[in-house]
């Protein structure tokens, strides 16, 4: 299968390579526009919304251009050739659908924002970020390279972070933004690891030359890749890692917790990012990788199905129940979004064609009704002044057009025939049913759970629609009419819902069929849906859903309270998140002062312990034996001098006063000087003697200004611990001396210096290849290793600067 194999079932669209310039423009035009937005805002003020909408419209036009051209294939631009990473874009059905959503819903949302954001702060930032988000989302949709995909993926998380935190002063916004960032970006990192393992696998198979980052190349060699992964036991890890990316982004249980909080963002953002597009990225990912991981003929319960069908159905059900427990319309819609994303992921999880069909179709359907509903929620919040479900009702009278949109979209969301949501849900039922039938046994759980979850979906959908009916609750103030800019976009989406509902096959043929082609391996055929005319098992599933839903609707409040009552402590995913984040902070506050005590003794203890452990570890690892001891090997005077030094050092330790200590310390120093004489190092002896004197002078000068002696009476355990550590350090040093003096390597340097240090017997006018002095030590210092000396005198000069700085900067302190 080549990269641009025509879809045999879609003869009307001939394969055409995408136009590189257009594809590039689709992705980067929004970024470019975002960069100019602050300047535009200075010019246009609030009308920047329409500038942004125009940009989105141009983008939509460019996407449409590629769609109409029948573009299908990959265009790549060199980016990091050394790594094999390119800025590759792949245009196919799935990419086009997501691109249509990003740019099309973008036009509507940006227009809607023109009304919604009236008088709001931070508009330049708002529109710039929205445009950047749109570019990122288009990038995700079109990316044909793993790294390029990841880049845009993370950029969507980032723009989401900024948009959720739009009301920067609000604690809730900050909490929500941080939560979404923590969850989605962390998930992205797991996904990245999954990608890297895939790249590794591509390098292992002979089917692919070298390694590849190209998603389409990986898919083209899906069998080989799977083989490598299975053989090395990495198939499940990769699925889990990539799945974590998808699950966090698409708010799958238990990572759904960030989505309801994300509703702190202005409502257009919720509609755009957190229902129609960004959260679809995870779903998109699952669809994109489906042909890579799901063999065509997978009849058994494979790893893929086990992971994604279970994840999806769990999310679909749990999130739908949570939506019923919601008290805020945006919260309800948020949980509903998670639930529907679960539906799509579950659908993609099944190996049969119905699953792929359901997923592909529901991406479109969900975007159409959910974005509309969010905009409706925005209108309600904006015009009624509240989002609390129990404070709303009878809105139909004030918001008649909005009510129509809401009812149409809600019914579609409920999966009520003949609306479009019904068709995709029906396909899901069909796929669960076939999966159960094929696999048997435990797999029958799938259809049961699907129906169970759908009942709750039905319930909350009807609840949302019912806000427009019944009596107005007390306390609901005057409800304004929405501005036209806020009404047209949801109306367009409502019309789209109706259009898809009326002619589903038109949309399938035009677009969704191609999406289907993208999410199944090999050559794809399109599909079509029909309004059921006979009583199939899955039609029965739909009937059960609707009937049970309708019967239990009167008990909605009981269910609502019941679920809320069950959500206590650890049953709430939020409990885990909050405790994790809180726990991090409290751990930090509790643990850090225990490590960074500010006490030198703690620091020195650990550092010296590290030194001892490394040294002894090194000796032990090399298997060193303590060398044979062959007598004293030093002359008696040296022994005596060093013994005096030892005694003096010990006396320093128990010195009764500072002055006494310093004096005994200098005895150590002078003994060392004598030792140098005995060790045939006259230069050292001289230097040591004079330096010792100078140190003594400075010591005495400083001591003169210090308080007398601190009675150092540590408790016994501290003393013993310090003593043990000191002993360990001493032992390590002693061992080091033994080991290193045991060696006698070739003394090449010594020989050279002595041969070349002096002046040659016969000397030419000027020479530079002999040291030219009898005192080899000095020749080394000024010639052989002159640069050491250079560094050293710099240190001395700096030491004088140090003293100056210490004394003179006193009181010049920074404002800290």
């Amino acid at each position: 299968m080549g990269l641009t194999t025509p879809k045999s079932a879609l003869p009307t669209i001939s394969p055409v390579q995408p136009t590189p310039e257009v594809v590039l423009a689709v992705v980067f035009l929004p970024f470019l526009a975002a960069a100019f937005t602050p300047a535009v805002y200075r010019l246009l003020g609030e009308r920047t919304a329409y500038f942004a909408a125009a940009v989105a419209l141009v983008t939509l036009g460019l996407v449409t251009d590629q769609y109409l051209a029948g573009a299908d294939g990959t265009v790549a631009f060199e980016w990091i050739p050394s790594l094999g990473v390119s800025l590759a874009f792949h245009v196919d059905g799935l990419a086009l659908l997501i691109a249509f959503l990003a740019s099309g819903v973008g036009v509507l949302i940006l227009t809607y924002s023109g009304g919604y954001m009236h008088g709001e702060p931070g508009q330049a930032k708002y529109y710039a970020t929205l445009l950047a988000f749109m570019g990122s989302m288009l990038g995700v949709a079109l990316a044909g390279d793993l790294i390029a995909l990841f880049v845009f993926w993370e950029l969507t998380s980032l723009s989401s972070f900024i948009l959720i935190g739009h009301y920067t002063g609000e604690k809730a916004s900050q909490y929500a933004a941080r939560k979404s960032m923590l969850i989605t970006v962390s998930g992205g990192l797991f996904m990245l690891v999954g990608f890297l393992l895939l790249v590794w696998a591509s390098g292992q198979t002979t089917a692919i030359e070298g390694t590849t980052y190209s998603i389409q190349t990986l898919i083209a060699h899906a069998d080989a890749i799977r083989e490598v992964l299975s053989a090395s036991g990495l198939l499940v890890p990769v699925l889990v890692l990539v799945g974590l990316g998808a699950a966090t982004k698409s708010a799958q249980v238990p990572f759904h917790v960030w989505l309801p909080n994300a509703m702190e963002a202005p409502t257009p953002v919720s509609a755009f990012l957190h229902s129609a597009t960004m959260v679809k990225a995870g779903v998109y990912l699952v669809g994109r990788f489906r042909p890579l991981f799901l063999p065509e003929d997978a009849a058994v319960l494979g790893e893929w199905t086990l992971i994604f069908a279970v994840l999806g159905l769990l999310t679909m059900t749990v999130a739908a129940m949570l939506a019923v427990s919601a008290t805020d319309i945006k919260e309800l819609l948020a949980y509903s979004t998670a639930s529907h994303l679960g539906l799509i992921i579950a659908a993609f999880g099944f190996a049969n064609s119905y699953g792929a069909e359901a997923g592909a179709f529901h991406i479109l359907n969900h975007a159409s009704f959910k974005a509309a509903l969010f905009m409706v929620a925005g209108i309600i919040a904006h015009e009624a002044g509240t989002r609390k479900i129990d404070r709303l009702g009878g809105l139909r009278k004030h918001l008649p057009i909005t009510a129509v949109i809401a009812v149409v979209a809600s019914l579609s969301m409920a999966g009520f025939p003949p609306f479009n949501g019904f068709y995709s849900k029906e396909l899901l039922f069909e796929s669960t049913y076939y999966a159960a039938k094929h696999m048997g046994g435990i797999a029958w759980v799938f259809p049961v759970v699907a129906v169970f979850g759908s009942i709750f979906t039905f319930l909350y959908s009807i609840k949302f629609a019912s806000l427009f009916f019944g009596d107005e609750p007390d306390g609901l103030g005057h409800v304004h009419r929405p501005p036209i800019a806020m009404l047209v976009p949801p109306a367009i989406l409502g019309a789209l819902v109706l259009a898809i509902s009326a002619q589903p096959n038109l949309f399938i043929e035009g677009l969704v069929g191609e999406v289907y082609g993208s999410v199944v391996p090999g050559d794809a055929h399109s599909f079509s849906v029909h309004f059921p005319t006979e009583l199939t098992p899955y039609v029965i599933m739909s009937i059960i859903t609707i009937v049970v839903g309708a019967v239990s609707f009167p008990f909605y409040d009981t269910l609502h309270d019941g679920i809320n009552a069950a959500l206590r402590g650890p049953t709430r995913a939020n409990w885990w998140y909050d405790n994790f984040v809180e726990g991090l902070t409290t751990t930090s506050v509790a643990v850090t002062p225990k490590v960074q005590t500010g006490l030198l003794r703690t620091y020195a203890t650990w550092s010296l312990f590290g030194f001892v452990a490394l040294a002894l570890g090194g000796y032990a690892a090399a298997g060193l034996q303590i060398p044979a001891i062959d007598g004293l090997s030093v002359s008696i005077p040296i022994v005596l001098v060093l013994l005096v030094a030892l005694v003096a050092a010990f006396a320093v330790d128990i010195a009764p006063s500072h002055v006494a200590g310093v004096l005994t310390l200098s005895i150590v120093g002078f003994m060392v000087a004598i030792f140098y004489i005995l060790a045939d190092a006259p230069d050292l002896a001289l230097t040591q003697l004079v330096v010792e004197t100078l140190v003594l002078v400075i010591f005495l000068l400083v001591l003169d200004r210090l308080p007398a002696f601190y009675g150092d009476a540590p408790d016994r355990t501290v003393s013993i611990r310090d003593g043990l550590l000191s002993l360990a350090v001493g032992t390590t040093v002693a061992l080091t001396v033994l080991f290193s003096t045991d060696a006698s390597p070739d003394p090449l340097l010594q020989r050279f210096f002595i041969e070349r240090g002096g002046v040659p017997a016969e000397h030419p006018p000027f020479f530079a290849d002999f040291g030219g002095g009898s005192n080899i030590v000095n020749v080394i210092l000024v010639d052989f290793r002159g640069i050491d000396t250079m560094g050293e005198i710099s240190v001395v000069v700096m030491a004088s600067l140090a003293i100056l700085t210490l004394v003179r900067m006193r009181g010049q302190g920074e404002t800290q």
């Binding site: 006259p682 230069d683 001289l686 230097t687 004079v690 330096v691 004197t693 100078l694 002078v697 400075i698 005495l700 000068l701 400083v702 003169d704 200004r705 002046v759 000397h763 006018p765 000027f766 020479f767 530079a768 002999f770 040291g771 030219g772 002095g773 009898s774 005192n775 030590v777 000095n778 020749v779 210092l781 000024v782 010639d783 002159g786 640069i787 000396t789 250079m790 005198i793 710099s794 001395v796 000069v797 030491a799 004088s800 003293i803 100056l804 004394v807």
Partner: protein, 157 residues
């Protein structure tokens, strides 16, 4: 201990007057002969610094400023001595680096040292002039200046 002359005895002053010049001469001798016998810029410098430190400990800073360097010991010029030491250190370092840079002009690596034999000089007959000596003088002044800055600044306190 701000150098009150009352705390020093006549004996110690006399001793210092005799000892300090001797030490200084020794220090300079050490500097000069360092290339061939124990000594060198370092050792000479440290010894010279020690001599000054001794003077300081015995006589106090004011004495040095007033009697030796002719500086009025009022508050405004308190740091003047330190400043001189500082210049000494900086110039010493500059000399060391400059002399090390000189070989670059002759297309030889940094810090290349050479020896020139000047023949036919009376008494000595021949004189070795080691380029390293310039470097050593730089070292000497850098170290003396640095150490004295430290001692004087500490003493100033």
């Amino acid at each position: 201990m701000s150098g009150s002359s009352g705390r020093t005895t006549v004996i110690s002053r006399t001793v210092a007057r005799i000892v300090v010049p001797i030490i200084l001469v020794t220090a300079i001798a050490l500097l000069f002969r360092g290339h061939n016998l124990p000594g060198g810029g370092f050792i000479g410098a440290v010894l010279a610094a020690a001599a000054f430190a001794l003077v300081y400990v015995i006589f106090g800073l004011e004495f040095i400023q007033r009697e030796i360097l002719d500086i009025a010991p009022d508050g405004s010029e308190r740091h003047q001595l330190v400043e001189s030491y500082r210049w000494m250190a900086s110039l010493g370092l500059a000399l060391a680096v400059a002399s090390s840079l000189a070989p670059l002009a002759f297309d030889m690596p940094f810090l290349t040292q050479g020896v020139l034999f000047v023949e036919g000089i009376p008494i000595y007959h021949e004189l070795e002039v080691a380029s390293a000596f310039a470097f050593d003088i730089g070292v000497f002044f850098a170290v003396v200046g640095g150490l004295l800055t430290i001692v004087a600044e500490v003493g100033n306190e």
